[in-house]
Amino acid sequence: MSSRIGISCLQEAKRVAIFGGTHGNEMSGITLVNMWTQNSAEIERNGLVVKPFISNPRAVEKCTRYIDTDLNRAFTPENLSTPEVEGLPYEVQRAKEINRMFGPKGSSNAYDVIFDLHNTTSNMGSTLILESSTDLFNLQMVHYIKKAMAPHTCSVLLNEHPQLKYSTTRSVAKHPIGLEVGPQPQGVLRSNVFESMRTILKHALDFLELFNSGVEFPPCTVDVFRVQERMDYPRDTNGNITAMVHPHLQDCDWEPLNRGDPMFLTFDGRTILYEGANTVYPTFINEAAYYEKQQAFMTTCREILAANAIRKAFK
C-alpha cells in the first residue's frame, strides 16, 4: 500500500464471500445465500468473484442458533490453532475449516471481504457492524452504503472494545463486515427485513465493483456508535432474571438513554432506573440469543470517524 498526499491506495478487493447461517435460525441470510447458490446472477459483478456460503449447515438444518457452541465466537487464535482431534465441538471444527477455505486469518491469502448476514430480535433496523475504526476501506464502503440506502437509515456499530469484542466468523477476511437487520424473530422470514438485507448487499457489491474499476472515493466521515458496556438483567442468586426490559426502553435502539430513565421492570411491577452518569445509546435491546450471554442491551456512545480518500493501487 502506498499513499500520495491525502489518498490511500489500497489493494483491489477481488475475492468476496457472503456468509449466511452463521446462526442457523437467522433466516434472511440463510434464504439469500441459498437463493444465490442456485442462481448467482444478482450477485455477479465485473472484477469480483463472489461466493455465497452457508457457514453453519448443521445449525441451519435444525433451525437452531448453534449445535455445540456459538460459531460467531469461535474464531479465537486458540481454536484456530488447536490440533484437529476427535471430540472437538462441531463449531470449532467448522471454524478451522472456514479458516482454511477463506483465510488463514491474518495472512495475505485471506479473502478480501466477507459479509456476514445476521438477524436480531432487537429493533435495530439495518445495521452495519465494524471491528476496526482504522480500516479505511470498510469506512468508505459503509459510507457508500449509507448514502445509497438513504432515506432508509443504516446505523453503524463499532465494536473495538478490548473486553467486549469477539472473534467473529467474518474476521478471517481482511475486511470483515457484519450485516444485522431486525427486528425479526428467530426462525421467521419477514419480507421487509429480507429485502432490506438484499438491498444493502446490492449497494455493497456495487461499491466493490466501482472500487476495483479504479474509481476514487473522496475523504468522508462516518457517524458510528461505539460499544461501551454490556448491561445484564437483574438476576437472583440462582441466576434467573428478576426483571424485563422496561416498556419505555423496549424497541428504542439507538435512542438516548439518560440518567433516571426507566431501564427494567420487575415481574411484580417495580421500575429500575438507569443510573449511569452520561447519556448512552443502547442497542441490541432484548436480543433473544443474549439472555444466556448475560446481556439485556449494550450501551454505545456516538463518534464521528474520518476516512481518507481511497482508490485502487496501480499494479
Binding site: N34, T64, P183, N240, I241, H246, Q250, F267, N286
Partner: protein, 335 residues
C-alpha cells in the same frame, strides 16, 4: 334467553412453558409461585395450581425436546402404553393428565388456563376447542370488556373432546391464552403484562361467579348469605360473543423438489392478523418479485400469520370465519 345455573369452579390451574421458548407464560407461572411463597394460599381468592408444563423444554429454551407436547392430549395418545421409546413429551402429557385430569372424567380440574406466545400479531387471543362451553365463553366475554390495551379475540376449533389435542382439553372448561407478537426466547414487558392481566381477570371472574356458594360454619353468617343469595348472587348477563372459527391452513409457496420456501408473507399481509382477506388481496411476495394473491371467492380472516413454529408444520397462516356465539345469562348453581 333464560337464566342458566352452572356448577361452581372449585379448582383452577395456570400452566406455562407448554412450549419451552414461549417466555411470558414461564415467567407468569414463576411470578405466581413467588407470590404463593410470599402470601400463602391467600395469594388468590380461589385455589390456583401453577404448573410448568414442559420443564425440560423450558430448561433448553426450545419449543419441545422430542415432540410438540401440545399435540399429545388427544385420548389416543393419553391412553397409549408407555415404552422405552416413548417420546419425553408423551410421558409428560400422561403425567399432566394424571395431575389435572383424567380428561373427560368428573375428577378433572375445572379450568386450565394454558399460556402461550406467538410471533404473529394476534394481540390477546383466547383459544378453545369447542364453541358450546358457556363458562369459557363468559370468561372470554368478561376479558373482552375489561381489557382495552389490545384487541381481545376468541378462536374456536370445534373438535370433539376425544380428538382435542391440546393441554387445556384435559380440564372441564379449559382455554389457551395466546399473546403476541413476541419472538421465541424473549420476554417483552408489554406482552407479559397483558398475559398477567388476562390470568388475574380470569381468576377474578371465577371468584365472582363462585361467590354465591361460600358455606361458612357460623350460623349467623349462613343466614346473612342465604338471604344474600336469594336476592343477589353474581349473575353474568348473556349476549353475543364474536368469535372466529378455524376453517383451514395455507402453506408457503415451495420449490416442488427441495420443498424450500420460494416466497415470504407479503408485506401487506404481514402483521394483519384477523383482517378480512378478499379475492385478489396479496398473500405472498416471491423472492423473484411476484405477488401471489388470494384466489378464493369467500372472504375469510387470516391468523397465526408467520408463526415461527409453523414453518415445520407447513403452515403460513390459518383462515377462519367470523361468527356470533350466543351465551345465556348464567349464575352459579347453589348446593
Amino acid at each position: 334467553m333464560a337464566l342458566v345455573f352452572l356448577p361452581a369452579l372449585a379448582r383452577m390451574a395456570v400452566t406455562g412453558g407448554t412450549h419451552g421458548n414461549e417466555m411470558s407464560g414461564v415467567y407468569v407461572v414463576q411470578e405466581m409461585e413467588r407470590q404463593r411463597k410470599e402470601k400463602g394460599e391467600g395469594a388468590w381468592p380461589i385455589p390456583v395450581t401453577t404448573v410448568l408444563s414442559n420443564p425440560r423444554a423450558v430448561k433448553e429454551c426450545r419449543r419441545y425436546v422430542e415432540t410438540d407436547m401440545n399435540r399429545c392430549f388427544n385420548t389416543d395418545t393419553l391412553s397409549s402404553p408407555i415404552t422405552d421409546s416413548s417420546p419425553y413429551e408423551v410421558r409428560r402429557a400422561q403425567e399432566l393428565n394424571k395431575l389435572m385430569g383424567p380428561k373427560g372424567s368428573k375428577d378433572a380440574i375445572d379450568l386450565i388456563c394454558d399460556l402461550h406466545n406467538t410471533t404473529s400479531n394476534m394481540g390477546l387471543t383466547l383459544i378453545h376447542y369447542t364453541s358450546s362451553d358457556w363458562v369459557t365463553l363468559h370468561i372470554c366475554k368478561y376479558l373482552q370488556t375489561k381489557i382495552t390495551k389490545v384487541p381481545v379475540r376468541v378462536l374456536v376449533l370445534d373438535i370433539p373432546i376425544s380428538d382435542a389435542y391440546s393441554l387445556e382439553s384435559v380440564s372441564k372448561h379449559g382455554f389457551s391464552i395466546e399473546v403476541g407478537p413476541q419472538p421465541q426466547g424473549v420476554v417483552r414487558a408489554d406482552i407479559y403484562m397483558i398475559m398477567k392481566e388476562a390470568v388475574d381477570l380470569t381468576i377474578d371472574w371465577i371468584h365472582k361467579f363462585n361467590s354465591g356458594t361460600v358455606r361458612p360454619k357460623q350460623m349467623w353468617l349462613k343466614c346473612v348469605l342465604f338471604l344474600n343469595m336469594l336476592f343477589s348472587g353474581t349473575v353474568f348477563e348473556g349476549g353475543d360473543v364474536e368469535a372466529f372459527e378455524f376453517i383451514k391452513s395455507v402453506d408457503y409457496p415451495r420449490d416442488p423438489e427441495t420443498r424450500t420456501l420460494t416466497a415470504a408473507i407479503h408485506p401487506q399481509l404481514q402483521d394483519r392478523d384477523f383482517c378480512l382477506l378478499k379475492q385478489g388481496d396479496p398473500l405472498f411476495l416471491s423472492f423473484s418479485g411476484e405477488t401471489v394473491k388470494y384466489k378464493e371467492k369467500e372472504p375469510l380472516h387470516p391468523f397465526f400469520i408467520n408463526e415461527a413454529a409453523y414453518y415445520e408444520k407447513g403452515i403460513a397462516f390459518h383462515l377462519g370465519k367470523k361468527m356470533m356465539l350466543t351465551v345465556p345469562k348464567v349464575q352459579v348453581q347453589k348446593d
